[in-house]
Subunit: 278 residues, 2 copies
């Protein structure tokens, strides 16, 4: 997603010198070859030196270390943002690492994705029409906030401001839990001795689950742990719903099942939710 | 799916006179207008009189009543089949309703679908490359079995024969459980006071769930109840997996979570499962 943001900013003349850093140095050199990046830095500290804007585009679990590595190299006017799928943990890490610089950190989460990983698949129009949630803290400077929001708007995104805790609670529900369910279901079947025979008879519904479960294990491990309290609550509520389903099945309660299924089925017909994203 | 089979058979000159019956008489008349059907019958019994082949294309819960209505009208050489997503219950119903005619009933389940309902969306190529599971009983006559299998092959499908119980056990796992999970998750969120706010921030993963949950509530109520024993087993196993996830989250067990997610993620990369279906 960092690559797509680089492509979007460059395509819209919003960035005139983009320096990349990746733990995989080859990925960054490839970005230079592709014209997405102007240079590949040897370290995070080198990448951020003299930068007007720093974008953290890593799995959320890597953010604390990364911030520690760049904290001393960041200029006094540098604005920072991130693309992480959880916000309270990222804000806590930024507050801890950046000291007074925390007022120039603007936490963000573009609800986009589903794109293939790797700079080769960077899509300059990925953010067109998508929602970017911005979760400012009390200390966030308004000018930093407005600059980041303007940047996203220039990429075609719609901004939604909310508290980090609300973001994390909502995303636990509509993103993190669905991913965990997909991973758990596919893993459960994959672990059975007759997995191949079963997978060969899987239909469209199951293919959707395997597509969701094809997401990065490391990224989702980090998200699940970073948002473990809210996710744990959603998970427990869902297990309770499944236990109700089990009882209805055992009792042959056709009406209860139909009502549950009907409520879900209606939601598709009335929802105008986002078209894509994590 | 009945409409798509009619379209497929007609397009391949495998049927020269197709009579339809639907509880919604208008649907059948529309089929005649569209050229999918040659005639619309006033009753199930009228539809099957003098038929060489009878195809039951209803939610599985409607099969016992339907069989009772046609049993006396079926000719002594008529072959019957169905398209139901569960097989043991359909076979039991056919055995009960058809008496000696049961030997000409060939239970089948095309693993196709995802198509929009209604005869307007009938797709003559829906079955190209799809798998049709055929679950013969000990009493099934070989000539009836071979005739049905040849019919499906003429529509481009691949045949897989197995026991009804094995079919139901596998489908509980790779189809019925995923659908129940999707219905339950979407219903759980839809039932919350801030559902609209949450749905507006839903990403691609959740959209997959709502698409699955947009399936027919009546059809899936019937499937869930018809296959309640196998589905209940899968559901309990899945709840146990979710409880393990909950524990790993609470314990902050990053390694366990990553291993689970990695197993699921690999499955997508190695699976060559069916492209579509229920």
């Amino acid at each position: 997603m960092g690559g797509s943001l680089a492509a979007a900013l460059r395509g819209r003349q919003q960035a005139h010198w983009i320096i990349g850093y990746d733990t995989d140095a080859k990925a960054c050199l490839r970005g230079v070859e592709l014209g997405l990046l102007d240079a590949s830095a040897a370290s995070p500290a080198q990448a951020v030196r003299d930068a007007d804007l720093v974008v953290l585009a890593t799995p959320v679990g890597a953010v604390p270390d990364l911030l520690a590595q760049i904290a001393d190299a960041i200029g006094l006017a540098t604005i920072l943002t991130d693309l992480g799928s959880t916000k309270a943990d990222v804000i806590a890490a930024a507050r801890h690492a950046l000291g007074p610089g925390f007022e120039r950190f603007v936490a963000g989460h573009p609800i986009a994705g589903g794109e293939r990983p790797g700079l080769e698949h960077a899509d300059p129009d990925l953010f067109e029409g998508c929602t970017v949630v911005i979760t400012p803290a009390a200390q966030t400077r308004l000018e930093a906030l407005e600059r980041i929001e303007a940047l996203w708007r220039s990429c075609g995104a719609r901004i939604e401001r909310m508290q980090a805790e609300e973001h994390d609670r909502i995303l636990a529900c509509v993103s993190h839990l669905p991913h965990v369910l997909a991973f758990a279901l596919v893993a459960q079947i994959a672990g059975q001795p007759d997995a191949q025979r079963k997978l060969a008879l899987a239909g469209a519904g199951f293919q959707d689950f395997t597509r969701i479960a094809a997401s990065s294990p490391v990224m989702w491990r980090d998200i699940a742990l970073a948002n473990r309290v809210a996710l744990g609550q959603e998970l427990r509520a869902f297990v309770a719903t499944l236990e109700d389903v089990e009882q209805a099945l055992a009792a042959g309660d056709a009406q209860w099942l139909e009502q549950l299924f009907e409520l879900a089925s209606r939601t598709r017909r009335t929802s105008t939710g986002g078209a894509h994203g994590q």
